[in-house]
């Protein structure tokens, strides 16, 4: 407050809406600091984490380029046509920051100054692209799929197809990542997001009666004697096949390929399961078209035989043209088995 105002009351009107705007903003200011403001002052992250997550609003974010273009081309109706976005920008720092960024970049695009940018001369293949960046792309695609699914759910719409396409793309790109730990990081949220297709009412298959297997990382030592035994058995049956090693808590298993057939080998199963047929749930199976699953439903593949007296089971899962001998195709198949659940089939009846 200026002294003039304090001492002499109202001053001469300025016809300037800015002071009133500042006051109105103060009246409506939220009492808490938004996360994005905190992030601006946070220490620099050491990981290449995704930058846009909590404050990503699909509907508004994807309107930003059109709004910016309308402003840049002096469309007099710009703020009217995008009034909803404008109000949103007032309260969402994440989208507002994106607006600033995109406006400036679009301005540079349509009103160029100086020499045009030079094209890159780098690699031309995914294999030659740094794998950490492939992993980041996979994480971004998976996160975007989750955002689309969440948005669609809120809007009572469906986004299954575009989300599925993004997850499939992430899967394919991850197959070019050689290092298994980086590949695992790239797909760390894949199972969680892929199972969102089932909706909130999907039955939860957890508990002591369900065995959840996932691939062991390459180079993981500490092979148990059961694993060695399995390997020995498999080596005799499939001399030229490759395998994907699985583990569920303290249990080992593997997926072996014989020709086109993918075969599940399990060992040391609970005595309660002996003599019973098992149901296998390949959680990502429906995401992946190149496998023809036995029975047609990857979420419920009934074993061809019961668990034998030693607690072992060998059962086919399906057929595929993919070859485990091809590193990329093997990586794809390994990603497919990120979560493989096994339970006794007759549990369904209960």
């Amino acid at each position: 407050m200026t002294e003039h105002n304090q001492n002499e009351g109202f001053s001469v009107p300025s016809n300037n809406p800015q002071p009133l705007a500042r006051w109105l903003q103060d009246v409506f200011q939220a009492p808490i600091t938004s996360p994005s403001t905190e992030n601006q002052h946070a220490p620099l992250s050491l990981d290449l984490a995704l930058l846009i997550q909590d404050e990503y609003h699909v509907r508004f974010y994807q309107q930003i380029p059109d709004f910016c273009m309308a402003l840049l081309t002096n469309d007099p109706q710009a703020s009217l046509h995008h009034a909803s976005l404008l109000y949103h920008l007032l309260g969402c720092q994440g989208c507002h920051q994106a607006y600033l960024d995109i406006y400036d970049s679009l301005h540079a695009a349509i009103y160029p100054q100086g020499v045009r940018p030079i094209l890159g001369q780098g690699t031309r293949t995914l294999d030659g692209t740094p794998h950490r960046m492939l992993a980041h792309l996979c994480q971004t695609l998976i996160s975007q799929a989750e955002a689309l699914l969440s948005h669609a759910r809120r809007e009572h719409a469906t986004a299954d197809e575009p989300a599925r396409a993004l997850l499939q793309l992430a899967l394919r790109i991850s197959s070019h990542i050689v290092q298994s730990t980086t590949r695992r990081e790239a797909l760390q949220d894949l199972v969680r997001v892929a199972t969102l297709f089932d909706g909130p009412a999907a039955p939860q298959e957890s508990g002591s009666q369900v065995y959840a297997y996932s691939p062991t990382l390459a180079g993981t030592g500490n092979m148990r004697s059961g694993m060695a035994k399995l390997r020995h058995q498999a080596a005799g049956q499939a001399q030229e096949s490759q395998m994907i090693q699985l583990r569920a808590r303290n249990l080992d298993g593997m997926v072996v390929q014989h020709g086109k057939t993918l075969e599940l080998h399990l060992h040391d199963l609970d005595p309660l399961l002996r003599g019973r047929f098992l149901c296998v749930n390949v959680a990502l199976g429906s995401l992946f078209e190149p496998v023809r699953w036995l029975g047609g439903n990857p979420r419920s593949i009934k074993s061809a035989s019961p668990v034998d007296g030693t607690g072992s089971l060998v059962t086919p899962l399906g057929e595929t043209e993919l070859r485990m001998s091809n590193p990329e195709e093997r990586n794809l198949l390994e990603a497919l088995f990120l979560l493989l659940q096994v339970r006794a089939c007759d549990q369904d009846a209960g």
């Binding site: 705007a21 808490i32 695009a109 349509i110």
Partner: protein, 300 residues
């Protein structure tokens, strides 16, 4: 052209390596002293890639709506990417506390370092000429609308029943320099700004006044979403078991609102991140959400 916006949308696997190469080269260029810091380069490249995915361009196919970016010529699209890299690089340099006093100085040093760089002639400051560059500017635009001023006048007038609160608001408007509105108020209702020392409880009076003005503005709004936000706050019931507030859809759908209208408003609030509601019969709210809803306002 090695890749286009169309390629990124429809052939992401094939075009990603080309996109990466392009972004990487420019990121190194703009990162200056950080150009050999692989992590910093990755951050810049990753930011632009992530933005393209979020915008629905990269791998968007036909499922995400086309935007102005799809209409750019190839050269314009490259310029767009280039500038995005440039902006993020500056952001990283700033966060690394590189000694840059102004963005103009930074861009000047860029000119010195690059012989034929595309930013050679770029001298505008980062956000200087951008409309709505701050929330304040957005509010300026909105508050310059006559209808809003009339509503504000009405709401401030309502404070006359609480003179301390009215004085607190008038002092505040004066502090902010909102002289136009003050003069209108003075002329219409013969109000005056007291020259007495401020009431010792002025801050408290001001908070109460703000609350009333927010409520009044929401009540006067004909915007469906604002009406639903207001009703959520007014009709909420506290559950002593969950310590959450709940409101039934039927309760919200009173008088002039149908249940369909309420659902539209709720979806809008959900889209803006103010609510978690998935079509249930009841809406559940926590106190933080209530606080944000009481501050929600927009016009038609």
């Amino acid at each position: 052209m090695p890749f286009t916006a169309h390629d990124l949308r429809y052939h992401p696997e094939q075009s990603y390596p080309l996109l990466y190469a392009y972004l990487h080269r420019n990121a190194q260029r703009y990162l200056g002293s950080l150009q050999y810091d692989a992590f910093e380069v990755d951050i810049v490249v990753g930011h632009v890639v992530e933005q393209l995915v979020r915008l629905g361009l990269f791998a968007g196919g036909d499922s995400s709506p086309k935007t102005a970016l799809d209409q750019l010529s190839d050269a314009q699209f490259y310029a767009f990417l280039n500038r995005s890299v440039h902006n993020k690089a500056i952001d990283r340099l700033r966060k690394k506390h590189i000694q840059i006093s102004t963005s103009a100085e930074l861009e000047s040093s860029e000119r010195d370092e690059s012989d034929d760089g595309p930013m050679g002639d770029a001298v505008t400051s980062l956000w200087g000429s951008t409309p709505f560059s701050t929330p304040e500017e957005i509010t300026v635009h909105l508050s310059s609308q006559l209808a809003l001023r009339d509503v504000l006048k009405h709401c401030i007038q309502q404070l006359q029943a609480a003179p301390n609160q009215l004085q607190a608001v008038l002092h505040e408007l004066s502090e902010y320099g909102a002289d136009d509105l003050l003069q209108v108020l003075a002329e219409d209702w013969h109000l005056s700004l007291s020259s007495d020392p401020l009431n010792p409880h002025n801050s408290q009076h001001k908070d109460h006044a703000h609350k009333k003005i927010r409520h009044c503005l929401q009540q006067k709004s004909s915007n469906l979403t604002v009406i639903v936000a207001l009703r959520l706050c007014e009709y909420k019931v506290l559950s002593h078991e969950t310590h959450e507030y709940t409101v039934d859809l039927q309760t919200l759908a009173q008088n002039d609102l149908s249940e369909e209208d309420v659902q539209v408003g709720l979806k809008e609030l959900v889209a803006e991140g103010l609510l978690s509601w998935h079509g249930e019969e009841g809406v559940h709210l926590n106190s933080a959400q209530i606080k944000r809803l009481t501050r929600y306002y927009k016009e038609e």
